[in-house]
């Protein structure tokens, strides 16, 4: 664990906290982007170039834009009157803590299950590409089919709305 790791972890956690606590919804979305960027940098810190750049490309380039568009197209960015905390925040906290505990348990167990993984694996983008269109081509195609179906569904929803207006 190096100094860089702690710096990036602090950035990510600060971004996530700001996303949770800020009053203005658009500010929250922008703070969430900071958290995404911190995660991407953590991936790069681990020498996982593909995961890091894909994180930036997909989450900052697409998901963050989608979030701000959704905010602007629905409620506007004004602060809700009854505060930013929902009434069920305690249940949410419990679920989040449960997920975190499960994941950390799994990560900590991996040291016991795979005790001989001492060397850092080097995975190049080329290997990931070959694996995706070779061994894992069926899952890739299933995901592609799912996404196509989702796109068609979105288009149908949008078209229906337009007919209703006319």
């Amino acid at each position: 664990m190096s100094f860089v790791f702690y710096l990036l972890a602090a950035l990510t956690v600060a971004g996530a906290f700001a996303a949770m606590l800020l009053k203005n919804t658009v500010h929250c979305a922008l703070a969430l982007t900071v958290a995404f960027a911190g995660l991407a940098l953590l991936f790069l810190n681990l020498d996982a170039q593909f995961a890091g750049f894909a994180q930036i490309l997909v989450y900052i380039g697409a998901v963050a834009i989608l979030v701000v568009f959704a905010i602007l197209l629905t409620r506007g960015s004004e602060t809700p009157r009854d505060g930013v905390f929902s009434r069920t925040w305690f249940v949410g906290l419990l679920i989040a803590a449960g997920v975190f505990a499960t994941l950390s348990w799994a990560v900590l167990q991996s040291v016991r299950v795979l005790p001989h993984e001492t060397a850092v694996p080097t995975v190049t983008v080329l290997q990931i590409g070959n694996a995706l269109v070779g061994r894992f081509v069926l899952p890739l195609e299933i995901v592609a089919l799912l996404l196509t179906a989702a796109t068609i569904g979105a288009v149908i929803v949008a078209m229906h709305e337009k007919e209703g207006q006319q």
Binding site: N24, V26, H27, L30, T33, A40, Q49, F50, F53, A54, I56, L57, I60, G61, A62, A64, I65, V68, F69, L72, S77, T124, V125, L126
Partner: protein, 391 residues
């Protein structure tokens, strides 16, 4: 001698670094390259503004700037001093923090893209395995800064301009990525230096640039369209269409922050031209084998400036598109052609050497272009233009 001239910047950096103690050397090496990029491209931006104003003036039968210095070449210095000394006005209802951050984020993200461009033999700041992916990741981050600028200004024009810009950039980014994927398929690598190396050999004195293949030529045309739209240049400059939206997302920016937006726009133009050069025009390689003695960086920057000239030429020539035309063009014409081009690139790869693949690939691409264009034009019912009042 010629080899030394080719590597002059690399050798210069090596010589400068050799005065320092060994542990500092790698850090200073990187810092020197960064300093070179950060100083060179804004200087090029200053030159390009004069070049553009002069060029546009010529196209429109005017003289252009001619007061500051000989032939007006000192105009950018005057502009720079003006924007530095102007008052920086932030609207009262604007979101001050986001309003301040937007131009900074834009310029930083655009500068990052230069890190992976090979500007000459051995002249690349970070030769990554996933260089192209890095470039597109940085390009995607600029969209958010445009949104930040438009939203934080609390101005209807700004917000509309930002929404238009983001919608346009997302649509054309798909095209940009898909047209570049063909090159990755052929070169078999995402590293930009390897893509240049794959194009840098000659037969009968002519280079193996990807633009000289059917799929590469089609891909380059689509890349150029998408690049023009990504950089919000005319004819795709409706995010800042001055007749409708004042200046789009940077309406509420003045002084140096406005200059930063201006700089960011031109830097994006340089970097996307540099990427296009690298992907399709052979990067720093010479156009004929007997010209390889000219230093590689001269070729890269010549091709870059040629692309900038085409951008200026287009701006002086074409009228602006309408929003629905822009979206229809991206999703209904360019995107299907891009997908077809992927198939054609696969065919090209597996048909083997010989004339057959030239014929098959060209016929498919030209046929699809003709059929789609003909079908769309038929649906539009474009007849002879009739004037209601002007006759």
């Amino acid at each position: 001698m010629i080899d030394h001239l080719d590597q002059i910047f690399v050798l210069l950096r090596h010589w400068l670094v050799s005065f320092l103690p060994a542990p500092l050397q790698p850090v200073v090496c990187v810092l020197l390259s960064v300093a070179a990029i950060v100083s060179l491209f804004p200087a090029l931006f200053a030159l390009t503004t004069v070049f553009e104003r002069k060029g546009l003036a010529r196209i429109q039968n005017r003289i252009g700037p001619n007061r500051v210095g000989p032939f007006g070449v000192l105009q950018p210095i005057a502009d720079g001093i003006k924007s530095l000394t102007k008052e920086d006005i932030v609207p009262l209802s604007a979101d001050a923090a986001v309003h301040f951050l937007a131009p900074v984020v834009l310029v930083v993200a655009v500068f990052m893209g230069f890190a992976v461009l090979p500007m000459g033999r051995n002249m690349v700041l970070a030769d990554m395995n996933a260089g192209l992916l890095f470039y597109f990741a940085m390009g995607a981050s600029t969209e958010l800064s445009v949104f930040m600028a438009g939203w934080s200004s609390r101005n209807k024009y700004s917000l509309l301009g930002a929404m238009r810009a983001v919608a346009q950039m997302i649509s054309y980014e798909v095209v940009l990525l898909l047209s570049s994927v063909t090159v990755v398929m052929m070169a078999g690598s995402l590293s930009l230096s390897k893509i240049v190396a794959a194009q840098n050999h000659y037969s009968w004195g002519l280079p193996h640039w990807y633009i000289f293949t059917p799929w590469g030529c089609a891909g380059f045309v689509m890349y150029a369209i998408a690049a023009t739209a990504e950089t919000n240049r005319s004819p795709f400059d409706l995010p800042e269409g001055e007749s409708e939206l004042v200046a789009g997302y940077h309406t509420e920016y003045s002084g140096f922050k406005f200059a930063l937006f201006f700089l960011g726009e031109y830097l994006a133009m340089f970097s996307i031209s540099g990427l296009g050069t690298t992907l399709f025009l052979g990067g720093w390689s010479a156009p004929f084998s007997f010209l390889t003695w000219i230093p590689s960086w001269i070729w890269f920057f010549s091709k870059l400036m040629l692309s900038i000239f085409v951008f200026i030429w287009l701006r002086g020539t074409l009228p602006r598109l309408r929003q629905d035309q822009l979206m229809n063009f991206a999703w209904k014409f360019v995107l299907p052609m891009c997908l077809l081009n992927l198939l054609v690139a696969g065919l090209w790869r597996f048909l083997g050497d010989g004339w057959a693949r030239w014929a098959v690939c060209s016929v498919i691409l030209i046929g699809a272009y003709g059929a789609m264009g003909w079908g769309e034009m038929r649906r539009k019912h474009i007849g002879p233009r009739s004037y209601r009042y002007a006759e």
